[in-house]
Subunit: 255 residues, 2 copies
Amino acid sequence: MLSKSKIKLIVQLKQKKYREINNMFIAEGTINVLDFLQSDAPLIDLYATKDWMQLHQMQIKNLNSTIVTTKELKKISALSTPSDVIGVFSLPDTTFSGNIDTDNFTIALDNISDPGNLGTIIRTADWFGIRNIYCSNETVDAYNPKVVQATMGSLARVKVHYTNLKDLLESRPDNLPILGAVLNGTRITELKTQSNGIILIGSEAHGISKGLLPFVTQKITIPSFNSDSTNGPESLNASIATAIICYALKSGIGE
Amino acid sequence: MLSKSKIKLIVQLKQKKYREINNMFIAEGTINVLDFLQSDAPLIDLYATKDWMQLHQMQIKNLNSTIVTTKELKKISALSTPSDVIGVFSLPDTTFSGNIDTDNFTIALDNISDPGNLGTIIRTADWFGIRNIYCSNETVDAYNPKVVQATMGSLARVKVHYTNLKDLLESRPDNLPILGAVLNGTRITELKTQSNGIILIGSEAHGISKGLLPFVTQKITIPSFNSDSTNGPESLNASIATAIICYALKSGIGE
């Protein structure tokens, strides 16, 4: 049974302001909840249907959980189609420590505003073994329920940091490549084999900010292989561009 | 000035049923509207702010257009943030003619349900010069406003067909490859150079249907290059997987 005050709290957690005040976020759906249960983010509350609890009793034993009805889940869900389980977790610290991951590729996001794009980028990073994403402070919050949903559990594994990207790029080690996705750079099919660097992705509407472009050590472009260049799209979706660049860089180094 | 009956009609066009009854769909935003104006889909009505009309008078001269206020646009928009222009166009015929495009790669979508995914796949296809997408009848409608929005004008250039995919795959020429995206196929980094074939993508939740798998001539997989295979994501987003496969196939053949 869900109290009115709990319902109010969980519904408020859809908003960044209340996530920060309460230091909590919500993860919905089996994959997201189980993946966060395996992460460092402590569980605060778990709400699920009786059937879900029975099916996952091994994973949730000794945890603070409440059986709720589908109707109750609908009241607290941030999704149009609520799932069978919602977990309330402690909000991880997203402050950038100042240490850039130089062992691997990382991704820097310059004002990505669409929650689906950010979530998909986090999921894709996870697939390609990229462990750190640096977001500008204006980028949509990674713990927005729509972002969490789109990550399909990957937010439990990929570390997302928020910071001033200019400061971060200024403080990077001299030899760390900054690969900036632009429309007139080196074709990614022609990139030299490399094993680390920051992949810098600009916003959906404006690309990489003017203030960050001078830090780019290599401008890169996804070729279209489209012979009719006069009648085509202007660009790719930001999450698609990120994914193709990650694939090209990772497949270039072989295994 | 927008009449009540026009408002009602345009709002109804968010639903597939009314798009089919009226044989119309709506495209919002400058890129979408201008790209459809250059396509074969005849314009029925154009609604835009005074500023938009002045800025684009060359493109819309002699067209049936109405100046509306931002408040009126908000009433008819399918978006949470309405743009300055909405076009009502004749609904293109999406019936599959029976002729498969064998000169190029094409994409077959087996029950893609998310409008953002379908729109992004159409946009990506356009980028890579893929001209035809075959959708199962259960795939979300390409003229759904959320799909149109995500295509960013590409739906005006890429032909989307709806059909029974089993019949389509059965009727294909014997030598046309069917490349099925699965989790245990040949790594796409190891594919032979090829220049045509159907890229078959399964649904977000269930992958390629059992009934279609026997038609796949080559099972293909996107490698993760992730050394920790025990603790990673189960899959990639469907539109991301499609994009990486398109890039791998297109970059394999060079130019």
